[in-house]
Each structure stands twice: as structure tokens, then as C-alpha cells.
Symmetry: C2
Subunit: 479 residues, 2 copies
Amino acid sequence: MADNKKMVEAITSMDEDFAKWYTDIVTKAELIEYTSVKGCMVIRPYGYAIWENIQRILDGMFKETGHENVNMPMFIPESLLQKEKDHVEGFAPEVAWVTHGGSEKLEERLCVRPTSETLFCEHFANIVHSYRDLPKLYNQWVSVVRWEKTTRPFLRSREFLWQEGHTIHATAEEAIEETERMLGVYTTFCQEYLAMPVVQGKKTESDKFAGAEATYCIEALMHDGKALQAGTSHYFGDGFAKAFDITFTDKNNQIKYVHETSWGMTTRLIGAIIMTHGDDNGLVLPPAVAPIQVVILPIAQHKPGVLEKAAELRDRLKKVARVKLDDSDQSPGWKFAEYEMKGVPLRLEIGPRDIEQNQCVLVRRDTREKIVVSLDELEEQIPVLLQAVRDGIYQKALENRERRTYTCKTMDEIPAVLAEKGDGFVKAMWCGDEACEDKVKELTGVGSRCIPLEQEHLADTCVCCGKPAVHMVYWGKAY
Amino acid sequence: MADNKKMVEAITSMDEDFAKWYTDIVTKAELIEYTSVKGCMVIRPYGYAIWENIQRILDGMFKETGHENVNMPMFIPESLLQKEKDHVEGFAPEVAWVTHGGSEKLEERLCVRPTSETLFCEHFANIVHSYRDLPKLYNQWVSVVRWEKTTRPFLRSREFLWQEGHTIHATAEEAIEETERMLGVYTTFCQEYLAMPVVQGKKTESDKFAGAEATYCIEALMHDGKALQAGTSHYFGDGFAKAFDITFTDKNNQIKYVHETSWGMTTRLIGAIIMTHGDDNGLVLPPAVAPIQVVILPIAQHKPGVLEKAAELRDRLKKVARVKLDDSDQSPGWKFAEYEMKGVPLRLEIGPRDIEQNQCVLVRRDTREKIVVSLDELEEQIPVLLQAVRDGIYQKALENRERRTYTCKTMDEIPAVLAEKGDGFVKAMWCGDEACEDKVKELTGVGSRCIPLEQEHLADTCVCCGKPAVHMVYWGKAY
């Protein structure tokens, strides 16, 4: 028996070394494994199952808002990438180039898509002729490649999985409405399903997507006080349409350019989940995306009737939750630690005495609270408790963000408050001048995260130059 | 109104030019669009929705048989690809090579995965230690790249979408059992869901997957009498395990090599659906994978109550089928042609007189049979009719295959029967010698498709050399 008593190794504590804590979790909860391909990773079954749940929910939300899935090639000819000037300048330095097919040198280099605006534009130009063909509301689920120098699992890898929505519309108004609609979908998804509070905002000019007129984003605050961009939604105006000649005949028989958007979310959401909800015992998963929502652990499972009862509960509860029964011969202590590491929202313990009393013990992963529940009430109680876990971890994340959101009116206050209270969001006024944005970053270490849609008037003047303020900005360090 | 009366253009007839008929369908049914990336294509919403249905059903079958999804990098370092000799020889001539990341030349070239055995092996070697870690039953849904010279949409493209299953087992027996199990899953999927009869068999030595001990396959016969390999399932023995040092400690504390399998199905299934069931009016889709199973077409839709009734039916029928209501102002004739082109299994016509009589007309895409159904019985009748379409097109495909399957006992008979009756499967005996296999191909134009699992004794001697026969083989031309 000795060889099967695996140890659940302890992980580095968050306070000791947050970065090490993070990489401990991604490997010990079996989310990823490193490979010999630098900057790329294997997403293991448990990690991929989280992504499948994210996909399923988001894909449903996209389809409900009228979007259709397509699939574009993974390669972009160099000449196609170069058609939109800002876009190629933004992406060319970080793309992977295919130069040979088999033993033959290609006539033209192909890059592995870092994003697919150019391919969608080429396609739109081919298929759109009349106002009757509009809008086109497309999305694809693929992987993209960006040749990053420094990589971290989920947060920044050379290849990552994502969805990229690309839409074209007859008017600027409709396109802007779409950009905002998808920002709303992303916000709902993060807050309701991932239990992760986000700030909706707009990127400053210097931080916009390459080729966009406006980039909207949602920003979340991680446990360590650093910000993470969880999703972006771009409005392109007719810039790409002009570069790719995407025109249509309108109702009055006039030739017009289309107006375009794109929007994306990636596997970095899994990194965000870890750093928003995790603790020193491992992952804490939002119930909506947890591969296992309830793990059933039989206690004294050698005693007659225990395993049978546990299996009966598994079969019953399948209808209300994603359930796993672990009837392996590992010790209960090992199992407790294992499923805490894996962030399973609810643990259901059932032993001989529970069976006698027609009850079981449910333990919440987030609070470790133990709740005794009658076996007759499990179907009602489990969804209630899963919702309670979601609400609890949302509230905790929100409190962390509120505790770590600081208002600063002078430049000096910024490093002072960060030194005293730790990293977080700094709210401060800004004149709109890029020189001030750069100076804040240089002198205080925090960059502009976004101009929040919900503005507050904190002061009349720019925190940096003292000229009249135009925007209130969230500043912070970022992943 | 004139500008909206689109024409549904006629397609080339199958008998006139089968290849042209095929490419007409893929573009006019809006399955794909060509791109400036040679040999790659856009899979448009209607084509991709077919693939999503294929994925959903197959993925469910994989999960029911205990498989888990993962995601491997899309790149393979050259040195990793070279670890298994037969494998690299098979694939190196047709891979795309990434040589630069941004402006820097890579130290080692990376190929874009043509298949992922080497990546899975590297991962398995990292994570497997004990017999308790076995089996690993993994699958991934990704795209792969093979630098083909001649390409055709779905059938042979430089990038295609697929699933690749990769499993490792403690014993050869278990691995062989898995290879056969997945061949069975593929067979069930093709026959039940795609309504496509297949022959289960084994590839000859010369036709095996690069690095496999045995390659099992399912072969379907297209409408024109050419064969199409619809899926393959490979048994690797411990060849890869030795090349990649994938070992485990067994129950007796002995170090052993694992035994491995892989299996795959691709977007070429969509090509197979087109060429198995399509006709001169366009696509005919198997109901299980049809994006729209029932299209509701209101007749005289300007008459009071027609559109309301049509919308009411759509809402009711959503529960039993994938339904679309086309209430656009196109003419009924245009709509009939459009949804025939798109292969929608059932058309539901509802007009003022139908409403008066509390009935509607259902028209089968495959037979064009019209069935008058009471509106009260639609929920029961539609699933029955969808099943009837599946059974009808399966039967028709089976009859085509039977009509085009010939038994030959001499070499001369082969070209004679093909010339007289058209391309098809030729059943003939074989001694097992590769020289005879090559000679049959050279002299008659048909290659060995597979050694069917269901053997028949047609003669005592090889059709080619006259020596004792070892196998009955299906021969044919292939896509």
C-alpha cells in the first residue's frame, strides 16, 4: 500500500513569493506542463476542461447575440499583413515566419497569425456587395502566435488559445454599438461566471490595438494588486475597410465603406482566475467553469454500504452538477488536500454515521465552512451552495480591489501609497497628454490601465502637469 | 424589388463533370471561400456549423469512452520530430518550417505540426511513472499543416481541422483493443450520423502511417466510384515509447515501455458528405449534422396570419429540431432552390389554405416527397421524417456502393469491369507481396484501399502472381 500514498506537496505561500505560488499552482493542480518548445505549453486535461467550460458559455453568449463561427487560415502572406500600416507596425516585430514548405523555399513568407484582421478583411471584401449582406457578425476559436521574449503559463505565452470576433457594419453607429455590446458580454461573463469584478474602460491612444480607432477593455485586479486586462473590444472605423477596399452598395445605390470591430478573450483568463481566487491551498474555481463542481469523498469506505451510497449520490447528483466520486484507496487526508489544490468548489463527505442519519457533510472550498445537509435535500442545496461560493468569492475579490484602489491627487502620493499599502489601482486625473502619461509611468512605476467608462471628478487638474484634467484614469502595474 | 430577386445559379451536373460539380457545391452552398493563402481556405459559417455538429457528436463519443481533451503546442522542434525514424521520413518532406521569430533567426527550426505524436510522446515521458498513471486517453481538436502540391477544398488542403487521439497503455493487448474501439466509434459515427456506409479494414504495409505497426481505416465509396479514407486508427506498439523513453514501473516493480495508439478524423468528412449524398440540386445533408434540419417557408406570406403562424411553428419546433424560418422577401421559388442547394433535410411549407386546414406540407430533400401533416402532429412527425431521411440516404449510398463493388479473379478483369461499369471497389485476392500490390496499381490504375476485417474467400490465388492468396483486398482509385 505504501507506494500509493502519494503526497500532496505544499505550495509556496502567496505572501512569500506570489510568482512562485502561481507557477506552483499551474503545475501542481495539473493545469499545464512545460514542453521543449520554448514559450509554449501543454494544457493538460484539467486545465483544458476549464477552457472548454469558458468556451461553451462564451460561445453561447456570442450565438445569442447573433454571431456565427468561421475558420480562417493560420497563415498570413507578408503582403497581406502589410496592407494596413499601423497594424503591420504593431505586429510584425513579434510574428513567427514560415519560410519553407517541405524542402522548398516559399516565394513569399507567411506569418503565423498573431491576430486575423487582415484575413477577415480579405474575406469580407470578397463576399460583401450590398447593404443586404450586412452586418457580418463572425467569430473564430483558434490559437495565435506572438513571439514574446519573456513568457509565463497562461499569462504570456508564444502560442495561446483565444476567440476573435470580427464584425462589419453599414454605419459607424452600428459598429460602435457592437464594440460596446461585446464589452458588455465580456463584463457579464467575467463577473457572473468567473466571479471576477472588472473595470470597464477605454485604452489611451498610446495603448490602443494596432490599427484601431478605439480600444475598449475590461481590467481586473489580481490578489497581489497588479492589474490584468481580461478582454478587449476594438472599434476600427473604416480604416481597414479603406486599406482592403471593403465596400457595399447602400439603399440609395451609393458605394460606401463598411465599419469594423474586433474583440477577443484568451486562455489568460485561466491565469486571471488563479490570481483572483486562489489561496495557499491551491486553486479556487468559480463553479460555472469548474470541471468538477462537487467531489464526493467516501469516509471509512471499507465499511459496508459506504461506497454503494456514494455511487448512488453521484448518479443522483449528476443531474444538478458536474460530480466526481473519488473511491480510490488514497487516504481521506490526501483526497482533501488534492481537491483543495484543484479548487473544487464543494466537497461532499459521506461516512457510515452520516448514512445512519440520512445526511452528509458539504464543505465549501472558499470558506472551508462545513454544512450538514439531509440526503433528501441535496438536489436543492447543491445549486444554492454553488451560487453561494460564486457570490462569496466575487465579494472577496471585490473587497480586495476596493482595499487596493487608491485616489491620488499629486504625483508624490502615488509611490507613497503603493509603498505603504501595496500595489493596486491608482485613480488620478489626467490632461490627456501622452507626455504626462509617460512621465507618470517613469516616475511612479504605474502605467495607465484605462480611462474608465464610469468617470469620477477627483480634481480639476492633471496629476502630473497641473493643466486642466480631461479624464480620470486607472493606473497600475499590469500582467 | 428587382435588385433583391437573387438568382440561385444552377450548378454543373454530376454526370457532366464530377470535379466541377463538387467545387460548385462547396462555393455555392457557401461552405468555403478561397483565400490568397494558397491551399488554405475560409470555412464559412454554414460549413463551420456542419463541423461544429461533427465535433459535438464525436467529442461526446470520445468522452463516453473515457477520453479527455488536451492542447499541445502547434510547433515541433526539428530535433523532436527526428526522434522516431520512420515518422520523420514520412512527414519531413511535407511540413511548413518556421525559421524566424520577429526579426531574429531561430536557433532551431520549428515545423508546424503535421500531426502530434512526437509532442504527445514527449509529454507522456514527462508525466508517466507508474502503472497507476496508465492508461492516458487523450484527444485534441486542432488544425494541422501538410504542404501538399495539389489541393482541393476539404479533401486535400495545406491546413485542415481534425481531432487527433493519442493514448498509451500498459500492455499491447490494451492498446490494440483501443485501436479497434476507436475504429468502431468512427464506424458508428459515419454510418449512424453521417449515413455513410464504410468498409472497416487494415492498410497494407506500404500504406501504413509513418511509424505505426498497424493502421486500421474506414473506407467509403463516393458517388463517382472513387474511395475516400474517412478515418484511421493506428497501433504503434512500443516503437515510439522506445524512441522517446516512455516507461513505467509495473505492479511487480519492473520498468516497462508503454504501448501507444493514435487516431484521427478531419474536415475531409465534409467532402465525403458532399460526394456521398449530394445531387444535381446541391448538398444533401445527413440530419444529424445539418445546421438547419427544417426550414420553414411561408407561402403567400403577405396574407394575414401567415407569418405569425410560421413564427409560432418555429418557436414550437425549436424543441425537436434545428429550425430556421425564412421570412425574407425572396420568392418561394428562390427559397426552394436555395435550401435545396444547402441540403436542408426538410422543408416545411405553410400558406393560408394550409392554415385553414390546420396542416402544412413537409418536403424531403432527398426524395422530394411531399407529406401533408396536421399541425398538431408536427412534434412527433418531424423526428420520424428526419430519421427517414437518414435511413433513405444511407440506403441509397449503400446501393451505390454495392452496384459499384466488383469481384475480379484475374488482372484482365479489373480494367475491363471498370471500363464497363465505371469506377468502384474491386475485390480481389492478394498474396501479400508488395511487388504484386505495385503491379496491380501500375497495370490497372487501382491501389489497395484496405484489407477488410470481414474477409471473403474469392479464390485460392493472388490476382496478380498466381501464388497462394493470403488476403482479400479492396482496391480502388482514391481521393
